[in-house]
């Protein structure tokens, strides 16, 4: 893999060292459940490492006493009432509608490969 430049990431040393090597990208792709062929890995790792170097500018920002903000308008994620919708509710799906876009169904269920032997 080619040597990455420091990328002006606020002088952060990690920008000069490859973080997203092929082993790390293979692990992340596995966690993301996306199959990546071995011959694709070096090119993909190179692309992802370039993005990481770009976002690494964040390492230079002082956030020591700053709380994370995960939502612009609310301190906590707003929740709807915990209630099971019935077929009378607007937008509720029938069983046929729920199954209509499935790639495979069997006996009114979503069909998948055998999970237990």
């Amino acid at each position: 893999m080619s040597q990455r430049p420091a990328g002006g990431a606020a002088g952060d040393a990690s920008a000069a060292t490859t973080v997203l090597d092929t082993a790390t990208v293979r692990r992340a792709a596995r966690l993301a459940r996306i199959a990546v062929r071995d011959d694709e890995l070096p090119g993909l790792a190179d692309e992802l490492e370039r993005v990481r170097v770009f976002v690494d500018a964040l390492q230079g920002v002082d956030v020591d006493h700053i709380a994370p903000l995960v939502h612009p308008n609310h301190d906590a994620m707003p929740l709807r009432p915990d209630r099971v919708p019935t077929s009378a509710d607007a937008g509720a799906l029938t069983q046929d509608q729920a199954l209509a876009n499935a790639p495979a169904t069997r006996d009114a269920h979503f069909a998948v490969p055998r999970v237990v032997g």
């Binding site: 990546v36 370039r50 612009p72």
Partner: protein, 491 residues
Amino acid sequence: MSLITLADAIQAGTTTATLATQGALARVGAHDDAVGAFVHVDEAGALAAAAAVDAQAAAGRPLGPLAGVPVTIKDLIAVAGQPLTAGSAMLAGYLPPRDATVVRKLREAGAVILGKVSLDEFAMGSTNEHAAQGPVRNPWDLGRVPGGSSGGSAAAVASGFGAASLGTDTGGSVRLPAALCGVVGVKPTYGRVSRSGVVAYASSLDQVGPLTQTVADAARVLRCIAGPCGEDATSLDPSGGADAEGWEAACGRGVDGLRVGVVSAWLDAVSDDVRLAVETAAAALEAAGATLHEVALPLAAHAVPAYYVIAMSEASANLARYDGVRFGHRAALSADDDLDALYAQSRAEGFGPEVRRRVILGTWALSSGYYDAYYDRACRVRRLVRDELTRTLQRCDVLLGPTAPRCAWPLGEALADPVATYHMDQYTTAANLAGLPAVSLPWGLGADGLPAAVQLHAAAFDEATLFRAAGALERAAPALPATPTGLTETP
């Protein structure tokens, strides 16, 4: 013709919904082979909806605020009876069971839905080149990008394929293509518009917004789609609906005494024609009675990297639903493949390269050992960016700056260097991180004869002031040619 002019003419009986719809469909037939905005044209449905409006008018019944107006919908938003692909091979053949809330509201207002328009796959892109159906071309120069991700929406409005389009804006995806195509694009305050029935990309950033030819047109469409909805717990309206009633009038109110912050640092890295557009726009607001205030937003410089980390992380969670089981592409399996292979192979085949990059990086940024340094840190920077903008918008009523660093660029550039394209979002992502409303509006033609644009931000839930400033700017803006230059060259 503007949306309001058309709606007024239909109300007055000087034209009909059917004529307006036939006219829009004829333009699509004449020019969309060259532009490539549409992924699905619903000619029969549109003509039936138009006939229903005309029947209503003939019977003397009151018409809605969008009655008979042809519109298009970004193919990230569900329209019952029409395919929903999100620009992805993953959703080829998917048929949504019902309308998104915004589409239901458009229909209730009388709008005629012409069809679905193109986008970057799952709204991830700034050029509309990452689309399973192929790129959209800029109507002002067919060799250039329309911007993204709502590139089909912007190209459609610029080409006269309907008077308005609904796009979505996660990091600038309504405003950037609006800027590059010479139309108006509004990103409402986060929560202003329901996201129910909209394919999720980054849920704490996504908002639906209108693209139109004029500012008042955008105000009218936004009024029709705004408001809380029981199917989106984040949707809200602190004014209880009162705000929206005043938006159209606000466009004509003028800016006497309005405090306009000009973000000087945002002019350091833009092309000469974009800088000139912003400077001329600032002078025009001052001449109209506003006061100018130079503002510095040092923390907003970190918005783009924070945005990309947060958007990719949220995308990795949202796009986990595409597993080849309930909907979407399923890989052909051999007899000994297990469920895990079904997931991994289906996702490898269904997602394009930019989506694959963002989902894998987002997964990595949330993973053990990296979460604190990337996702958590980006969320802390998000607070800094929001607080800086909120403080600044207590001293100023609106902020003026560029939308994009340059006018439309040639097709192919972004595909060669994806990271360089992320810089095109440098003036748009802060509004999404902070949840603020913002608008891009055209400001004449730049040096290459391509549309230039300026952007305004306002405080959360203060669309009224945003429309007030945007309306004044529009009255002062240099006029654009009536027909985009790329279309006049089409045989």
